[in-house]
């Protein structure tokens, strides 16, 4: 093995005219929703973020021949699994990147473990990826439903929103988000006065909102995402629910959703995110580069894809190969830091621990541009944002 590696290295060096120390082919497959509800928060933007990471890593100069391919999983686990299998078996993909929609992500995590690739998860939210269905080759990078609950749920309850009513998207993600948040609310001294399961997807939330209104809750928790959240917020404002004193808590909201709502409608809303483009000069520069190609600001999923790929390429360079187990182990041993995600430490279960931030949407008066939408309320330290590691999921101990 070692001899083979040495030979390969020598050949590679020779082929590159002697300038390079090593020559490794790396193929990254960005698998996400490119046409449906999550196409804006992930989609082509994640491919662009991956390419930016390859460029910034100076992969070519370091002897890594990185190729980036992409596909649309249409938010369907069967479609996603087929693509993942084909990528690993036939196309020589070494790592699968992004994969929003938790059901698809869980399928990809299993396949990745079987094929000894690496799964750099940025888009999915389910905590199951690093708990019930944890795998040694899964790196769950950007956020999860527990972090969202610990951010928004806790902050809102502690700020006086004691009685909660949930509007829950009636599928796995919605229920798990409701459950995580309910726990946080109760721990923080609040109570849950009711909930309604809303068929997914829905356009009209007015009757559910009226039910929430008559429940006497202080806070209406929106355990949904994307278009559902946007419509619910829009209509809550229209029906005077927020003006009458009830607060909305969007539990999974991306910058793109706020942009779609506009500051007028979304003002005052609190949300948890791992990244905001307008944090400092470096995030602004990075986001401007992203915007040049995508015509919009990056979401936290895009930023997460970038950092995760950077850390992955660092592991490839250090280990000199693309073996999934080795790479995942290296990524867990070595901390990572950049301007987008701050300090990141991947735990033994694959959960990348970093700070999360609680933001509030600016009022139209405060907002100075189309994308000038958020102001930071507080920082949630990484060790408080995420759930503690399960012992059986710690893959670093032998």
């Amino acid at each position: 093995m070692l001899r083979k590696l040495a030979l390969g290295t020598a050949l590679g060096a020779l082929a590159a005219g002697g300038a390079l120390a090593q020559d490794i082919d790396v193929k990254l497959g960005v698998l996400n929703d490119r046409s449906g509800v999550y196409a804006d928060i992930a989609g082509e933007g994640s491919v662009v973020a991956t390419r930016m990471a390859v460029e910034d890593f100076k992969a070519a100069e370091k002897g890594l021949n990185v190729e980036v391919i992409s596909a649309d999983h249409q938010n369907k686990p069967d479609v996603g699994s087929n693509i993942a299998r084909q990528w690993y078996d036939q196309d020589g993909v070494n790592a699968i990147v992004d994969v929003p929609t938790s059901s698809v992500a869980l399928a990809v995590a299993q396949i990745t473990a079987d094929k000894n690739g690496v799964f750099l998860a940025s888009g999915p939210g389910s905590t199951e990826l690093t708990r019930e269905q944890c795998k040694p080759t899964t790196i769950h990078w950007t956020y999860d439903t527990a972090a969202l609950a610990n951010g928004t749920g806790k902050a809102v309850t502690e700020a006086g929103g004691k009685k909660w009513f949930f509007l829950t998207a009636d599928y796995a993600f919605g229920h798990s988000l409701e459950e995580n948040t309910s726990n946080v609310v109760k721990e923080s001294g609040g109570e849950v006065v009711g909930s309604v399961d809303v068929p997914f997807p829905a356009t009209d939330f007015s009757s559910f909102l009226l039910q929430a209104q008559s429940s006497g809750a202080d806070v209406i928790g929106l355990a949904n995402a994307g278009g559902d959240t946007i419509n619910a917020i829009k209509q809550a404002s229209e029906f005077g629910i927020t003006q009458a004193g009830q607060k909305l808590a969007g539990l999974l909201i991306f910058i793109n959703d706020i942009h779609a709502l506009g500051a007028q409608t979304a003002q005052g809303l609190q949300m948890t995110s791992a990244f905001y483009w307008d944090t400092d000069d470096e995030t602004r520069d990075w986001s401007a580069r992203f915007e040049e190609q995508m015509n919009k600001k990056p979401s936290m999923v895009h930023a997460g894809v970038y950092s995760a790929v950077m850390h992955y390429l660092g592991a490839v360079e250090a280990t000199g190969g693309t073996d999934g187990d080795q790479i995942a182990a290296w990524m867990k041993e070595n901390p990572y830091e950049d301007a987008l995600m701050g300090q990141v430490q991947v735990r033994g279960d694959g959960r990348a621990v970093h700070d999360m931030y609680l933001f509030e949407v600016k009022t139209p008066d405060e907002s100075e541009g189309e994308w000038d939408l958020l102001k930071k309320v507080s920082t949630i330290p990484g060790d408080q944002a995420f759930l503690p590691m399960l012992d059986e999921c710690d893959f670093t101990k032998e």
């Binding site: 046409s35 804006d40 928060i41 989609g43 009226l210 278009g227 419509n231 229209e238 409608t265």
Partner: protein, 295 residues
């Protein structure tokens, strides 16, 4: 105060009113479908995409040309209508002599293309469109807070629906139209330009979809999938009402809005399927639809 199955009557009244508002959208959209099917025999699957276009055109008029809601309420349906006429001239008109299925397939394909194009340029998250100032705010009715804009939606849709019904069923122009669908050759022989009439009818049906789109823009998210989400329900409405029946489409639209509203109170999880359950029952016992005539 009495309670019905644990729901206080105020809440029930509120939900009924909300059902009526949603029914307004169903009514305007299914009316357009019914007109097109009744007079052209085309199952217009592009209706949802054209509804979406109505909302987008309103947004574009505002953001690119500075034209506000009220002019857009007229202009956007006109633009969508003209677009529909182009589609009819270039493609649909070649299919009239073929089976319904061809029209369905063509319009379905067109819907996918239109949605794909909008998705490509505007993304999926949607765009903000504000309620016009004159209609923002609302009234406190005692049992609920009624946003002015929702009230306006009900009024506007009632006017448009019954105006259309009156024009088709009670005027001379409507009589020509109905005659032309019965026997185009004979009506043509009387000197009526049948192809022109059919073209304008399609344009009108499509403009109705555009109109509903503008009505929807301020309250729902303006996004490329907004029509795809709605079109299946609207087709169910048309089937329940009876394919091609104008009044059937209108009344069924409002009626199903109410039923859906009630389901949201008593069994929210079922509110997405209740219309299809009703459709199945109606098809079992009265396959021609509630207001349809047996073929």
């Amino acid at each position: 105060m009495f309670e019905l199955l644990g729901i206080p009557p105020q809440a029930l009244l509120g939900q009924l009113l909300l059902g009526l508002i949603n029914g307004s959208f169903y009514a305007v959209l299914s009316l357009g479908l019914a007109v097109i099917f009744g007079l052209l025999n085309i199952i217009n699957f592009a209706h949802g995409a054209l509804y979406m276009m109505g909302a987008f055109v309103a947004w574009m008029l505002l953001n690119y040309a500075g034209i506000g809601y009220w002019p857009a309420l007229i202009l956007a349906p006109l633009i969508v209508g003209v677009f529909g006429i182009v589609l009819e001239r270039l493609m649909l008109s070649r299919l009239y002599h073929l089976d319904h299925l061809y029209g369905l397939l063509l319009t379905f394909g067109l819907a996918l293309i239109i949605q794909g194009l909008f998705r490509n340029y505007y993304g999926i998250s949607g765009l903000p469109y504000r309620i016009p100032d004159a209609l923002s705010g609302g009234y406190n009715l005692g049992f609920m807070f009624l946003p002015k804009y929702r009230g306006w939606v009900v009024v506007a849709s009632l006017v448009v629906c019954f105006g259309t019904w009156f024009m088709i069923e009670k005027t001379r122009l409507g009589a020509y139209l109905r005659a032309a669908t019965e026997n185009p050759v004979l009506v043509g022989a009387f000197g009526v330009n049948v192809p022109l009439m059919i073209m304008l009818t399609y344009g009108f049906g499509v403009a109705l979809a555009g109109f509903a789109g503008v009505l929807a823009a301020p309250i729902y998210s303006v996004n490329p999938n907004m029509g795809a989400d709605l079109i299946i329900v609207v087709f169910a409405v048309v089937v329940i009402g009876g394919m091609g029946s104008i009044m059937g489409a209108i009344l069924t639209g409002y009626f199903l809005g109410l039923i859906e509203g009630l389901t949201r109170v008593f069994y929210p999880e079922g509110s997405a399927v209740v219309i299809f359950v009703i459709m199945a029952i109606v098809l079992l016992f009265k396959p021609e639809g509630l207001f349809g005539r047996a073929a």
